[in-house]
Amino acid sequence: MSLFAEKGKKSLLDLIGSGRNLDAYVVGVVFLEEGLLAAALVDGRVAFINSESTSPASFVSAHDGTCLSLAGDPGGQRVLTGGDDGRLVSTDTDGETTEIAAISGRWVEPIAVSRASGLCAAAFGKTVSLFARDGSAVGRFEHANTVSGLAFDPKGRRIAAAHYGGASLWWAKLGTQEPKRLTWAGSHLDLTWSPDGKYIVTAMQENELHGWRVADSVDMRMAGYPKKVKSMSWLPKGRYLATGGADSVICWPFHGKSGPMGKAPLDLGWGFEGVVTAVAAHPRHDVIAAGYKDGTTILVQIEREDPLLVKRPGEGAVTALGWSADGQHLALGTESGLVGRLKLSDWRTSSGA
């Protein structure tokens, strides 16, 4: 289908990027300031990779055990990681690690950060803790079940936590409070808050998404996925929500008054093998990077036919994708430990590439 799906065709990574294998499942990738890339590896290491393709990666051991999650600090100078050693750790670009908090015996999985408020939230099992930029604890919210997804609202004033039975919404700076409960039967594994603040969407154990309109808690069910949705990403201004979980990129339209209800999703990036395992929308344009189970990575545009091949199949499923804040750099990580990065400065959505 795609011009670029042919065997032997060179990918963008081959032509203008660089890749290296770091020997462990890549949990996440995030760009820091000046194009420095940080990758969290499942064996507890954080790798820093600069934009020179020849310089080696530097490693920092952040966790004694499995690293479960990664987020870039709002300031862009350090990364936050959670591990099964019960620790939330900050690693700065000089390789200095600081333990922000630890609860022995718990897993620290979802982490959320807010550029707007500078706050960071992490779930220690059933407890969600909030931290200010200096690492001081500023809030603590308890849940009946393990929290497996976290997201701030656009202003960073509220935090939403996904768990069994739905989601809980807390005011970050309010002391004692009852959370707003969004309920829907089943196990909610991941959560995202739309950039306009109007919608919350969770990915469920049952191969579907569930959404709520925050203002009136109206339910939205987005079903039909053959697999679990493990990756969701909002396009600029929240016009679409791009998702994995199918053999193409499923994009739900959120620009109408009632969100995606009664509308068919867009279906992009056909013709590749297997299921989409990771998606990341460009921060400025209607462009989505999507990675597949076989390692193929593409760039697709909303309402355009031909995708661009970013990476050929191989090296295991794509597990992580990330753009720099200016949208010039793209990074990817895979199951077998490949971390690739490329600079797309000359590339324009209008160039017809």
Binding site: A24, Y164, A185
Partner: protein, 318 residues
């Protein structure tokens, strides 16, 4: 990709489960195991490879009220599978009060768990001295014995041979297909414990149920086994419909169902596994010459109408 075998150890508190876990971890140092337990305090060994499970039981949102899974184990197994180098096995210990069904269901329901691990066996350790008493006074023990693939009778040195035979036959009346092994302080070949593919979709154990055993114990819950066989292949459409109806109507009472079926025109045999009403089936088992094919179904459950099941099964033969 090799699927990592998971062994579920269940059993009442006070039985010798902990002894068995300790032996796995201390005597098999050359092999890599990751162990899931319920409380750190319960086993007194270094806990590098021990993960504390939270026993979070979740209902699936699929209109099936009895369809619960263990969310904590799905999460744990999912994360474990990201690590390279692999593991030789994952023993999961559940508390005596935990229902083994949601644990087993994880392996039928969750695609990530299913794709990387296989349920090797569900095993319980029961104390030979007190087993009859436990079966009479504890609903959990009864369910457990009915549900598992391997029953380890421990402390058999403390009971006479006659008594042991009586106890075995009592267990047989509840679960006709499980393997019963006697042990002393859980001294058993650990390989056989951890590698046994009792619950594997490819290899249903060809165990002849011990129907000769006398059945002098009737239990309140009347949990028993029914074992069906057919000499001829089954009609392509009939079993599926009948099975579906059976599981919809009687799923609550059916604890475990396993079977190997064959259909005319299909080279491979159809292997079915069910936990309550959740049924998974596949054409997986390589075909043997038609005349030697196994065609059997075993049901373990409560209030089973054996005659009805036999008639239904007979009606499915082509």
């Amino acid at each position: 990709m090799d699927l990592i075998p998971v062994t579920v150890l269940t059993g009442c508190l006070g039985a010798s489960k902990t002894t068995l876990l300790n032996r796995i971890l201390t005597e098999e140092r050359d092999r890599k195991y990751d162990v899931v337990v319920n409380e750190f305090g319960e086993i007194g060994i270094d806990n590098d490879f021990v993960v504390n499970a939270d026993e979070e039981e979740f209902e699936m949102n699929n209109d099936c009220i009895c369809c619960t899974v263990r969310g904590d184990l799905i999460r744990f197994l999912g994360s474990l599978m990201k690590r390279q180098g692999g593991f030789d096995g994952i023993p999961i210990e559940t508390t005596g009060l935990a229902d083994p069904a949601p644990v087993a269901r994880n392996f039928l329901v969750d695609e990530d768990v299913r794709g990387r691990t296989r349920l090797g066996s569900i095993m319980t350790v029961v104390d030979a001295c007190h087993v009859i008493q436990r079966l009479e006074d504890s609903h959990e023990t009864l369910e457990e014995v009915a549900f598992v693939d391997i029953i380890r009778l421990d402390k058999t040195d403390l009971v006479s041979a006659d008594e042991l035979a009586r106890k075995k036959s009592c267990i047989r009346s509840i679960n006709a297909t499980a393997v019963i092994r006697r042990t002393h302080r859980c001294e058993v070949g650990l390989d056989t414990v951890l590698e046994r593919r009792a619950f594997d979709l490819d290899r249903i154990p060809a165990i002849e149920p011990d129907f000769g055993a006398e059945d002098d114990h009737e239990h309140d819950d009347a949990v028993k086994s029914v074992f069906l066989r057919a000499d001829r292949p089954l009609d392509g459409n009939r079993p599926t419909k009948r099975l579906q109806r059976l599981f919809v109507e009687r799923g609550q009472d059916l604890l475990r169902t396993t079977g190997v079926l064959s259909f005319p025109g299909h080279e491979k045999q159809y292997v079915v596994q069910a936990v309550h009403m959740l049924l998974a089936g596949n054409f997986t088992k390589s075909g043997s010459p038609d005349e030697n094919r196994e065609r059997r179904l075993s049901f373990i459950g409560r209030n089973i109408d054996e005659l009805d099941l036999r008639q239904q099964y007979k009606a499915c033969v082509a």
